[in-house]
Symmetry: C2
Subunit: 457 residues, 2 copies
């Protein structure tokens, strides 16, 4: 078996920045490196071309009676700049203490290597393991996975035969407290644009005669929340499910130090939906947030202009059971109804993503038809994590969005077991990214144990 | 007597752009040109230094029993760019038909020359004219007259002995319809800035937990108008006087073609205070307008950020009898009361200007203590304009603001007779500025006749 840390260092040395075409060689190098590594441990590797960066699809085991697990990961990384803030070279891994530093160590090369090494070790010990394993490793995750949904459609016949997806691309609060992420929020993004006159006008010569587009826009925007802070769009909350008591209990174990969180955000007070703690609100409630607003003169001093146009950028975060298309319609209908009729209103679609939720087995709201292999994977992970990390994992929904997890569910019908491995101090997407090698070692043991258990050994 | 058109051409050839230090020679040349011209017609000229461009103060007549008129003008001009849009050189005057083209021909060199030539001709005919005349000609009007209020204070003892100010720096609708501007709106400008968190935050990881500053800002902005479009600030309209019927009658003579105005603005419908036509609203009603708004991400596509800060730029236009300091206090108090208490709210003062109104004699609302010399000037202007232009002037308030007129009233206690001379097609502040030489000739006759009348001749 190869040395996982040495192999991870090799992986890091390929500067695979997907968003920057100057790194084409690094992308190709990283892809070849992973493909060859998977071949070396007995996988059949297919490199699936996309419009941009190929997806690696590697399989072992062909017996259709065996359980089948897909392991997801990505070989691309975020850009490393600002380079001057790095204490060691971004693409020359350096071990300091129990951490390995370098771009991509935690996101996602380290966690991906954890699973590859676990599989390698397991197959070395049990070459005939009755388990189908498919690695599905993309190269565009840091760009928003533009080629991924099409790939899923193209390979759906083959991939939907699997029982579940297993991955490590989420976080944990501390070295000894693992989290299995059981939900992600969805997204609906759009712009509101209001136009009045054909050009900017002098506010002295014409002020008092025509609608100001900023006034019209702020009135529309202000109408979208009630005085209690709730989103004031009829039907917006209709499909939100009650939170199960077990979910709130898990969250209490996660942490209750709202004061530390408040200080971290740098705000004088929280502003959450009634009846929800901040930790709950961010996970269990949908939002409508303004990401930007603009119009007229924004420079120093003043310019007495009535602008002809103003716009706002809006994002809704959705929770389990909400449908982005329906929410988009409801919000658009409310805006269209409330905007003055004598302005030109444009609602410009930006992207959207479906919320995702998976319920572990044996919970009050576990679906009756949950796949037994998925249930086994959760149980195996729970036991392995408790053994290896000393504490059972927490099962939490998160406030962020990872649209590919919902895409996998939508296209393939598969749920994901998201086994978190990176820590808050790992500096993802920032200078001096690192990965904790102790967590990696424990992660390998968990991954190996889960896969072994799925094989019935 | 000099040839007024030839002298005007000479004046235009001095490129006196006050805002651009590259034109220092042009400024100096224009100032010397005017000073020498006034000396040549018998004025004692004083060049008053300021922090930037000097003010020309020139007088004739010393008998304190004579009436005393101040003639205001400015020798600086707007920048001429974009130069490629000019059909002839901006600073080389060219006569085409009955118009003289060049930067400053209409604003304000032509109208100023009209008065200087009228005075020159009058004094040539009547060297002993019993009238004190003071020219007060500044060089910073196109920059907002920053040195002017201080100058007024410094020279107030001397200048407040005058009876009125006479000037031509306003517009008229057509060649044969003169307007005497009897009112200008005031101004209160400020920025609203709302800050929540200490830095921008990820809308997935933290959305639902804290106030969005754009939401808070739009709620505050939206609260500043009622559903009927009126400014929703207690006390905002308290000091607005009823419009006298004679003012509405004058405006009807000015024009009633609201449809042409609507098309000019390029709007589907007007949005005016109830009970006011658009032409009335812009002159007789105060406003609160948003000149700009900004915060968060304003580029292409989307960025799921909760910004830490958002701001709006606001201008109020005030009408006669409203006090900018009081209005500022009222609006600030409303904003402070309505803004959420858990945001950092900053209200940033920008400049302000007092509204101005002067009522001609013999009107329903003419002040009982109106200066007889001012009343004489109005009556003389009315007669002269009717004689020379074939129609009596209209007496109208305007929507714009010329803060120096209110400053003169405040510091010197003097009212102004604003005898308009430029036409909509004169292209002020734009390429191919021109001045109608027929209007100039008629203007000279009016000016001469008014001054002669004031001297009792």
């Amino acid at each position: 078996m190869f040395d996982p840390v040495e192999k991870l260092k090799e992986f890091i040395r390929h500067p695979s920045v997907s968003a920057d075409s100057a790194f084409a060689d690094g992308m190709k190098g990283a892809q070849s490196f992973v493909s060859e590594l998977l071949q070396s441990i007995g996988f059949e590797v297919e490199v699936v071309q996309t419009d941009l960066h190929p997806i690696i699809l590697a399989s072992r085991g062909t017996d259709p009676s065996w359980p089948h697990v897909i392991i997801y990961g990505h070989y691309d990384v975020q850009p490393a700049d600002p380079l001057n803030l790095w204490e060691s070279e971004a693409f020359e891994p350096e071990q300091r203490g129990d951490r390995l530093y370098g771009r991509g160590t935690a996101d996602n090369k380290g966690p991906l290597m954890t699973h590859i090494a676990a599989v390698g070790k397991l197959l070395e010990a049990e070459p005939d393991l009755p388990l189908r394993i498919t690695f599905m490793i993309e190269g565009e995750e840091e760009m928003g996975s533009p080629s991924f949904p099409k790939f899923l459609e193209q390979y759906s016949e083959r991939l939907k035969q699997a029982d579940l997806v297993f991955l490590s691309d989420t976080g944990i609060p501390s070295e000894d407290q693992v989290v299995i992420t059981c939900g992600l929020r969805g997204l609906v993004l759009f712009d509101i644009e209001v136009t009045t006159a054909k050009s900017d006008l002098h506010s002295g010569l014409h002020g008092g005669v025509l609608r100001n587009p900023i006034q019209a826009l702020t009135e529309v925007c202000a109408s979208l929340h009630g005085p209690d802070g709730r989103v004031n769009v009829p039907g917006f909350y209709d499909d939100v499910l009650d939170v199960e008591p077990w979910e709130k209990d898990e969250l209490v174990k996660y942490g209750t130090d709202t004061e530390a969180y408040r200080k971290f955000l740098g705000i004088p007070a929280f502003y959450t939906a009634e009846g929800f703690t901040p930790f709950e609100a961010v996970r269990f409630m949908p939002t409508l947030d303004f990401n930007g607003i603009g119009g007229g003169y924004q420079g120093e001093g003043s310019k007495t202009v009535i602008p002809s146009k103003a716009m706002a950028k809006v994002s809704c975060r959705l929770v389990a059971n909400q449908d982005p298309k329906k929410i988009r319609q409801l919000v658009y209908a409310a805006i269209r109804e409330r905007a003055p009729k004598d302005v030109t209103l444009r609602l410009i679609d930006q992207h959207e993503g479906t919320p995702y939720v998976v319920v572990p087995p044996d919970r009050s709201n576990t679906p009756a038809d949950q796949s037994p292999v998925l249930a086994d994977a959760f149980r195996a992970a729970d036991t392995a994590i408790a053994d290896v990390f000393g504490k059972p994992p927490l099962y939490l929904r998160e406030g962020g969005s990872v649209p590919i997890i919902a895409d996998i569910k939508r296209v393939l019908g598969l749920d994901s077991v998201m086994f978190g491995l990176f820590l808050p101090e790992d500096n993802l997407h920032a200078p001096n990214e690192s990965f904790h090698l102790g967590v990696m070692e424990r992660g390998m043991k968990v991954s190996e144990q889960v896969l072994r258990k799925l094989a019935g050994r």
